[in-house]
Amino acid sequence: MLEFLRDIFTGINGALDVLLSEALNLPPAAVLGIQNLLGVMVVSGFGLVLVIFTIWIERKVAGRMQDRFGPNRVGPYGLFQSVADALKMISKETITPDGADVVVYNIAPLLAVIAVLAIWAVVPFARTAIGTDLSIGALYFVAVSGLGTLAVIMAGWSSNNKYALLGAFRAVAQLISYEVPLILMLLVPVLLAGSMRMNEIVQAQSIWFVVMAPIPALVFFISNQAETGRTPFDLLEAESEIVAGYHVEYSGMMFGMFMLSEFLHSFTISALVATLFFGGWRGPGAASIPTLGFVYFMAKTFLIYFVTMWVRFTVPRIRIDQLMAFNWKFLVPVSLATMVVIPLVDKIAREIRIGGAPIYTVPDLATLQNMTALESIRVSLPRAGVLLVTNLVLGLVVFAILAQAARRQREAFEAGLEAEPAAAGAGD
């Protein structure tokens, strides 16, 4: 029993295996097929069930941050509020607008949800629990997010509504612009771990990558906020903007699908940030007790989701042109600079020799796993120190450039102010 609790995932898998192959006497191909099918259902169902909980958390935290209670009528502490919302949405009539393209109109919400659920296939929950350990895990995540962009365009165009189309254009412009720093900064954990497999990226983090590379973590987090359409980048769907944007013509459960995909996307992104930069399921004792690893993973994900919500209910919205300028004039140059500097410093530090030995060597994953926790931290410490210093220097340079630009702008503004009273005085 204790063995089962120690590693729930292998336990359940083993029990299922025994049930299917011996109790029901199925051929091995059918056993594999049924196991895969159940795995798919569990992974996608996990996200869908969790989103009910996360919507409740979001509204409660929103309430508390805004000095009010949040939902507290429906069920204890308002726990069933999301269920009530879902029931309301299901019971609403789904109106198809006149002249809309029916097939595309109906597929768009489904594609939006598919694009988000498919990401959960590569998220490592624990050492022995991952949907499928693709050799291209990190790249798969980006490829699937691209499908979400498609859903937005399909929704905007098929609604036969000019405002929906305009909203869709702006949304897609924002989404594809912020993919650039996202992908560039996604490369940094891949680089530091030496592999694109999600499980290997987690296992290489004896020191969390957020310590080794805080600037990529920050830029990745910001780009993800823009990708999921959270404040301060939620121009896409704010009610006061372009009349709710690309899903203005949707009602009932189809609109519910869009809302679902947005909340789930936000939670999925938190899970990915936790995996890539905060060590995923790693923690004291997680390597030998996978169930504990799952607990750590969920704790980290919820913490990062809390930071996401915190930012959402604190910061005002920025305009579309400010958004674009922020991306192309700030985030992309910073990501490119980081992408050049970090590998360069890493490679140089591994090549130069002080007294016959390099500053540090990066052990491959097999040796890393055989070391004890303290030993692996000690081995990675010089690398973490060097990269952290590099990031800080980069951050200082960025700040200096920003300060200079701000000073120039302020001087130009004050010069303009001084010229005005003089001109007004001369024109009297």
Binding site: A29, G99, D101, V104, L134, S135, I136, L139, Y140, V142, A143, V144, S145, G146, L147, T149, L150, I153, M154, W157, N160, L165, F169, V172, I176, E179, M196
Partner: protein, 168 residues
């Protein structure tokens, strides 16, 4: 020849690719044609997975579907009337085109079936670390570093050209 899940997957992706391709050329609505193109590209990504090239499959979805198809749809939406149905689907030389296409199909089919008709693609011929090998080939001076750099310069020129054109 027993029917393995590999054959079923191949058949499914073939339906996607061929069906998508057929939809592109026969669709009366231009946006529908663009969406059918996306289906066809997705089928090609499926083929790449079956050929044990997952990196190329992911890049196919990322670049073709996530970027190129989106740009195609943008171009169609911005340069055509929104109610773009009843587009003409064929010119008056369609008979000649059909004959040419069938001749090409027969020729290619004959060559392919002759050479590879009864041979299944060998699984496990692709090394485990194919992505790393691809990376090394792209930057190795004995391999493809020069075409790689030239392609990068070309993309940079295209990027700068787009910005210059957009500024006017």
């Amino acid at each position: 020849m027993e029917v393995t899940p590999l054959h079923i997957a191949f058949a499914a992706f073939s339906v996607l690719t061929l069906g998508g391709g057929f939809g592109v050329v026969t669709s009366r609505n231009l946006i529908h044609a663009a969406l059918f193109l996306i289906v066809a590209l997705f089928g090609v990504a499926g083929y790449l997975v079956l050929l044990e090239a997952p990196f190329l499959a992911a890049v196919q979805v990322l670049v073709y579907i996530g970027a190129i198809a989106v740009v195609v749809i943008f171009a169609v939406m911005l340069t055509r009337s929104v109610a773009g149905t009843n587009q003409v689907t064929h010119t008056n030389q369609w008979l000649l085109a059909v004959i040419t296409a069938i001749a090409l199909l027969v020729m290619l089919g004959f060559v392919l079936l002759n050479q590879f008709g009864t041979v299944d693609a060998p699984l496990g011929a692709v090394p485990e670390d194919s992505v790393e090998l691809l990376g090394r080939q792209l930057v190795s001076p004995n391999a493809f570093v020069l075409p790689f750099e030239v392609a990068s310069v070309l993309l940079l020129a295209a990027l700068i050209g787009a910005v210059v054109v957009a500024r006017e």
